[in-house]
């Protein structure tokens, strides 16, 4: 455990303050996670002297708990999100694109609605997009869709290292 010159409360204040300043929306989401508390098993003496009884109780997080929840939340947005994108794109690489058979002679397959398809682009990157302007939406988005872009693995590792450093700095002796 690191020997820190600051308390868990000071660390939490500093990080949450920085987040509020830089991205109030993300800060609000993380604050909600912290404010949700945590479940613990409370131990009390049972009726029989030799048998304790346990019950579940939701309690406030300690500052140290809150710091760990905060780092987990940051990992979700800064590391897991790019990994989701990369995984989705990687798995789509191994698929084929079904194109009308007129575009090439073979190989082909016939689907049940009698559309003859050629299988192309296996092993190639696919263009994958997510709809922004949805079918029923009246308000206008700037763009119709957003493309998912492969993220450099080195950058993801860099963020993992940064998170590990942060977690180290907010881990305190019990």
């Amino acid at each position: 455990m690191p020997d820190n010159e600051y308390t868990p409360a000071e660390a939490l204040d500093l990080i949450m303050g920085r987040l509020r300043q830089r991205d109030p929306q993300l800060a609000g989401r993380i604050q909600a996670v912290i404010d949700g508390g945590k479940d613990i098993q409370e131990r009390v003496q049972g009726r029989r002297a030799d048998r304790p009884r346990y019950y579940r109780r939701t309690v406030r997080m300690t500052d140290a708990d809150a710091l760990q929840a905060l780092v987990d939340s940051l990992r979700a947005v800064f590391v897991e999100q790019p990994l989701f994108v990369n995984s989705a794109l990687m798995n789509s690489r191994f698929t084929a694109i079904g194109l009308p058979v007129q575009r090439q002679l073979f190989p082909s397959a016939t689907t049940s609605n009698e559309t003859s398809l050629a299988y192309e682009h296996v092993g190639e990157d696919k263009e994958v997009e997510i709809e922004l302007q949805t079918e029923t939406q009246i308000s206008q988005e700037d763009e119709q869709t957003m493309a998912l872009k492969q993220v450099d693995e080195g950058l993801i590792q860099g963020q993992l290292d940064n998170l590990q450093r942060l977690r180290h700095l907010v881990t305190f002796d019990a």
Binding site: Q81, F84, P100
Partner: protein
């Protein structure tokens, strides 16, 4: 001894990184859909590992690009060329969809974030516009990206949804990058959807469990 200045530097390094706030603010609005795309990709992997040739298609033509819906919609939608995947196993055709609405046994429609559907039912519902019936569903998942613990409400709602999808469905589950200890207990009875929590690329063993479970369900249906 670490100082507050060290801590300040560490948080700034994280936030200012190329995958920090600048990147996140661009992708934030699709973060739930990115998680669905990830689960969709794991389903592609399951079909591929069973030896199937998986083909990406669009509801109105070649999926160039492949578009994921931004909100629940109909399988026969005409607004965009939404993508789906198609594959065959043992002569049976299946389709993999995201954010498609199904007609429950009560006739009320329900959206599934990612679903495997029997191919002939999917075709029929595109040709003669209709919501796929509950009996067409082979497997379906609710997919939730959370920055903290999951909400218990999600579990209760999903159990209710699956209850309306009849008895043909082979595999259902609530997938999330997060977890919730009580929801794990809630989903533990055999008849309930599976809790596939902490399902992220950071936990490859959880990915393997998900993929193998789907492979098993697809094999059962293909051989039945």
């Amino acid at each position: 001894m670490a100082t507050l200045a060290d801590l300040e530097a560490a948080i700034d390094t994280l936030l200012d990184h190329p995958l920090g706030l600048g990147w996140y603010q661009l992708v934030r609005r699709v973060e739930d859909k990115a998680y669905e795309a990830y689960i969709f990709g794991l389903c592609l992997r399951a079909a591929r590992e069973l030896g199937a040739t998986v083909v990406l298609r669009g509801i109105a033509g070649p999926p160039l690009p492949f578009i994921f819906r931004g909100a629940p919609g109909q399988i026969h939608s005409s607004s965009k060329n939404f993508g789906f995947a198609e594959f065959s196993l043992n002569g049976r055709r299946f389709e993999l969809h995201a954010d498609v609405e199904f007609r429950g046994t009560s006739t009320v429609t329900h959206e599934l974030d990612v679903a495997v559907i029997r191919g002939e039912d999917a075709d029929r519902c595109r040709l003669e516009p209709d919501d796929p019936p509950a009996r067409s569903l082979v497997a379906g998942w609710e997919c939730k990206f959370y920055v903290g613990n999951l909400s218990k409400m999600l579990g209760r709602a999903f159990v209710g949804l699956i209850d309306d999808m009849g008895s043909n469905v082979r595999l259902t589950g609530l997938c999330s990058n997060a977890t919730h200890p009580q929801l794990l207990t809630y989903f533990s009875p055999q008849s309930r959807p599976r809790a596939r929590f902490e399902l992220t690329p950071l936990q490859s063993s959880n990915e393997d469990v998900f993929v193998n479970e789907l492979k098993g369900a697809l094999k059962d249906v293909a051989q039945s």
